[in-house]
Symmetry: C4
Subunit: 274 residues, 4 copies
C-alpha cells in the first residue's frame, strides 16, 4: 500500500539532510583550521546544533501526526476489535520510524544545550534511529514482487551502512572522512527513495516488469550510479564551502594543514571542547 | 515446553539488572566529575562491585538448582538409558546459560576483590555469557510456529547486541555512552521476555494466531517500542541520579565538564585506577 | 557472456597493482626508518602518488571506453526501445566498476597534489571502489552453473576483504601489516581472475564439469594456494626492496627499529606529515 | 573418509598449543609487572618465540608429509588422469591447512629472530592460518549427515572466532584479555576435535543417530560445556603461573599493578620493545 508521495516525502527529507550536513561539516572543518575563527565558532556551532535538533524534532512530530491522521491513517487506533485485526500496520511502522528520529532530535537538543551528558550520545541515538529504520524495513517485505523486494534490499545496504557509520562516529567524532561518507549515504538514501517511487508507482504511468531479472540487474547498477552522483555532489559542496571560507579569511600557512590527527590536535571545535 | 513463569523469571532478573546498572553507571559518572568524591569513591565502587558479583553468583546458582530440581527437572540426570534419550534437554540448556552467568560473577568477584588479573576480564566474561545465551537460543527453535520463532529471533538481536557491546567495553571501559546502551538493551531483554510470555502463554487465556503475518509485523514494531521505552527509562534514571548527586554536592565549574576523552583524563574511578 | 580475455585483462591489471603497491609500501617503510632519507622522501612520495593516480585514472577511462565501444559494447546506449530491453547490461556493469576506480584515482590526485582534504579520503574511496565491485558481482551470478557461481563467490571473499582492509586503513594509515595484506589480496584477486578465465573459458579447449562437487572442492583449495603464493611473492618483494634500500644507505642502529608504534613516532612519511 | 585418529591428532596439537600459550602469556604478563625481571626477560622471550616457531614449523611439515605419504595419501599426485578425477582431495585440503600454519611459523621465526619486519606480522599470519582452516572446512561438508554438519559448524564458530581474535591482536598486541581468550578458544578447538572423533567414529563402537534433532541440541550444549571447561582450565593455569612467579620474587607494591593501559606503560616485554 505504498504510493509515489509516500516515497518522495522521506526522500526529499533525506536529500535535504544530506545537503545540510555536507555544508555543516565542511564549514566546521574549514573553520577548525583557522585560528581566528575558533573561539567565536564554538558558540555558533552550539546554536546551529540546537536549531538543527529543533527542526528535526518538529519535522518528525509532524510526520508522525500525518501518518496517524491522514485519510487512511489509523488515528491512534491500534487494534480493530470488531474485525479482530491490526489497523494500518504500515502507518504505525512509519510512525515508529519517525518516533526514533524524534528521540534522536530530543537527545541532540539536550546534549548541545546543556552539559548533562556526553556529546557522543547524539551520534549513538542517530545510529539507533537508522538501525531501527532498517530493522523495520527488513520485516516489511513479506510476499512482494522480486523487483520490489530488491529495491528495498538495496535501500537496506544504505540504511545499515549509515547506522554503522554513526556508531563509528561515537568513537571517532569529528573525523571528516566519516562525516562526508555519512553525507553521501544520506543523499543516496534520499535519491533512492525517489527512484523507488518512480519504479514502483511511476507518475508517468508506465509499468516495470517486476519479475524480469534484467530489471533487477539494471536496478543494482542504478544504485551504484546514485552513490557515484551522491559522492560527486558532496565533493562539489565541500569544495565550494572550503573556497568561500578561504576567500573570506586570510590564508593559513600550509604546515598547519594536512592530515588531521584528532588525538594530537588541541580541541578546536564545539564537538571536541564542549 | 515453555511457560509464562519460565519467561517472566529471567525477564524480571534482566529488568532488575538493567535498572541497577543504570543507577550504578550514572552514579560512577557523576562522582567521576566531582573532585571531592574521587578518593572516597574508589573503595566504595570496589565494594559495590563485590556485592553485585556475589548477588549474581547467588542468583545464578539458585537458578541452576531450580532448573535441575524443579518438578520436571532432570535432577542432574543427563541420559535416560532405559528409554535411550536425553533427559529434559531444555532444562539442561537453561542451566548452562545460568552457568555462564555464574562464571562471569565469579570472575568479577576475583577481579574486583584482588589485583590478580586485568579489570577488563569481567566485561569479557559478560560478553561470553551473553554470546553463549544467544548461541544456545539459536539452535533452540527447531520446528516451532513462525510467530514463536520470530519472537525469539528478535530476542537474539538484543542478546547478540549485548555481547558485542560488552566486547567493545573491553577496549573502551568507562565509556558512558556504551554503558547506557548496555543498560537500555538489558531492560529491553527483560521486558521482551515478559512480552514473549504474554504472547505465547497468555495468562488471560486468549490465543494469538501464530502463522498470521500481520502478527509477525506487529510484533516487530512492538520490539521497537520496547526499545524506545527502555531508552526513555534509562534517560529518566540517569537524569534523576545526576540531579541528586549534583544537589548534594557543590556544583562543578562548567569547563571541567563536557566531552569525555577517556585517554586524556587522569584516572578517577575505580574502573580506571585499580 | 564472459570470455578469457575479459578475465585476463582485469587480472593483469590487479597483478600489476599488487606488485607496484608492494614495492611502494616497502620503499616507504624502509625510508621511514632512515633519518637521512626523511625530508627528501616526502616530496618524492607525493610525486609518486600523483603519478600513480594519473595512471589509474587513464587506465580506468580507457577501460570504460573499451567496454562501451568494443564490438559488442552498448556504445552509451542504455535502453533499446525498439526491443523494449536493456542493452548489454554486463558491459554497463563493468563500466560502472571502472567508473568507481576512476573516482578513486581522481580523489587520490586531488588529495596528494593539494591540501584541500584529509589524506585518508583516498583510502576511503578505494574501499568504496572495491565494495562497489563486490556489490555488483553479488547480483551478477543469477542462474549460472554451480562451479561458475562458486568461482565468483571466492572472488567476493577477496574483494570484500580488500574493501574492509581499506576501511581499516582510513583509521590506521601507514600500518605496514595492513598494507602488505592489501598487496597480497590484490595479487590474489589478479591471479584469481586468470584462474577463472582458465577454468571457464579454457584457451586449451578442455571443458570442466561445472556441476561436479569435486571440482568445487578442488577450486576452493586452489584459492588457498593462490593466497599462499601471493603472500610468498609479497614477502619476496618486501625482502628484496628492504635489502636494496639498506645496502644503499648506512645501516641504522638496531634500537631504532623494531615494533612500529604509529602514534608515538614523529611523522616521517608523506602519508603522516602532509 | 574421516577417522578417529584423524580428529584426535589435530585435537591433541591444539590442546597442547592452548596449554602452552596460557603458560607463555601468563609468564610474560607476570614478569612484565616486576621491574627486576624486565631487561633479562626480553632476550628470554625472544628465544622462547624462536623455539616455538621452530617447533610449529617442524610439526606442520611432518603433518604435511604424513597427509601426503600415509597409506591412502595422494603422494603429491593431484590429478589421476587415468580415471579423470582428483586424487584424495581431503588429504590435499588437510595439507593446505598445515601449509598455512607452517607459513605462520616461518614468518614468526623471521620476525622474532631479526628486525626486518614489524612484530604484528606473526599475529596476522596466525589470523590468516585460522581463517584458511575455517574457509576450507566451510566447503568441506557437502552432502553429509545433519549431526556431522552441525558438529563441524560448531567448530567453525571456534575457528573463525580465533581468526578474528588474532586480527584484533594485530592492533592490541600484549592485551592479556585477548590472549587468554585465544588460549581458551584454542583449548576448545582441541577438545572439540576429540569430541567430533568420539561422536562420529566412536572407538567404543556405539553409533549416534545422526538425524535425531535431540542429538543436535545436546551437541550444541556440549560445545558450551567445552568452552566453560576450557575457560576454567585457562584460569587455573594463569593462577598457578602467577602464584609461582610471585612466590619466587619479591612482591610488587600494589599501586603498580591493576588495570593495564598498554599505551601509557613504558614498553617492558619483548613484544613491545623489539
Amino acid at each position: 500500500m505504498g504510493s509515489f508521495k509516500g516515497h518522495a516525502l522521506p526522500g526529499s527529507f533525506f536529500l535535504l539532510a544530506g545537503v545540510w550536513w555536507t555544508v555543516k561539516h565542511s564549514l566546521y572543518f574549514s573553520s577548525r583550521r583557522t585560528k581566528s575563527l575558533r573561539t567565536s565558532s564554538r558558540a555558533a556551532q552550539r546554536r546551529l546544533e540546537v536549531v538543527e535538533g529543533s527542526a528535526v524534532l518538529l519535522c518528525s512530530v509532524v510526520g508522525m501526526l500525518l501518518e496517524q491522521f491522514s485519510a487512511q491513517g489509523p488515528a491512534l487506533q491500534l487494534f480493530d476489535s470488531s474485525q479482530q485485526r491490526w489497523t494500518s500496520l504500515m502507518n504505525w511502522q512509519h510512525s515508529t520510524m519517525y518516533l526514533f528520529f524524534s528521540l534522536w532530535a530530543a537527545v541532540s537538543l539536550v546534549v548541545h544545550s546543556s552539559e548533562a551528558a556526553p556529546l557522543a550520545l547524539d551520534r549513538l541515538m542517530l545510529a539507533v534511529a537508522f538501525f531501527n529504520e532498517g530493522f523495520l524495513f527488513l520485516y516489511h517485505l513479506h510476499g512482494r514482487a522480486p523487483l520490489d523486494v530488491h529495491l528495498h534490499h538495496l535501500l537496506l545496504f544504505c540504511v545499515f551502512g549509515l547506522a554503522l557509520l554513526c556508531l563509528l562516529e561515537v568513537f571517532q567524532r569529528g573525523n571528516l572522512v566519516l562525516e562526508l561518507l555519512r553525507c553521501a549515504l544520506t543523499l543516496l538514501q534520499g535519491s533512492w527513495f525517489w527512484q523507488i517511487g518512480f519504479v514502483l508507482y511511476s507518475p508517468h504511468g508506465q509499468v516495470w516488469d517486476q519479475s524480469d531479472h534484467n530489471n533487477v540487474m539494471f536496478v543494482t547498477m542504478c544504485f551504484s550510479w546514485h552513490l557515484a552522483v551522491a559522492m560527486v555532489i558532496v565533493s562539489g559542496i565541500y569544495a565550494a564551502v572550503t573556497c568561500v571560507v578561504r576567500s573570506r579569511l586570510r590564508r593559513i600557512p600550509p604546515m598547519e594543514m594536512g592530515l588531521l590527527k584528532p588525538r594530537e590536535r588541541e580541541p578546536e571545535s564545539e564537538d571536541e571542547v564542549l
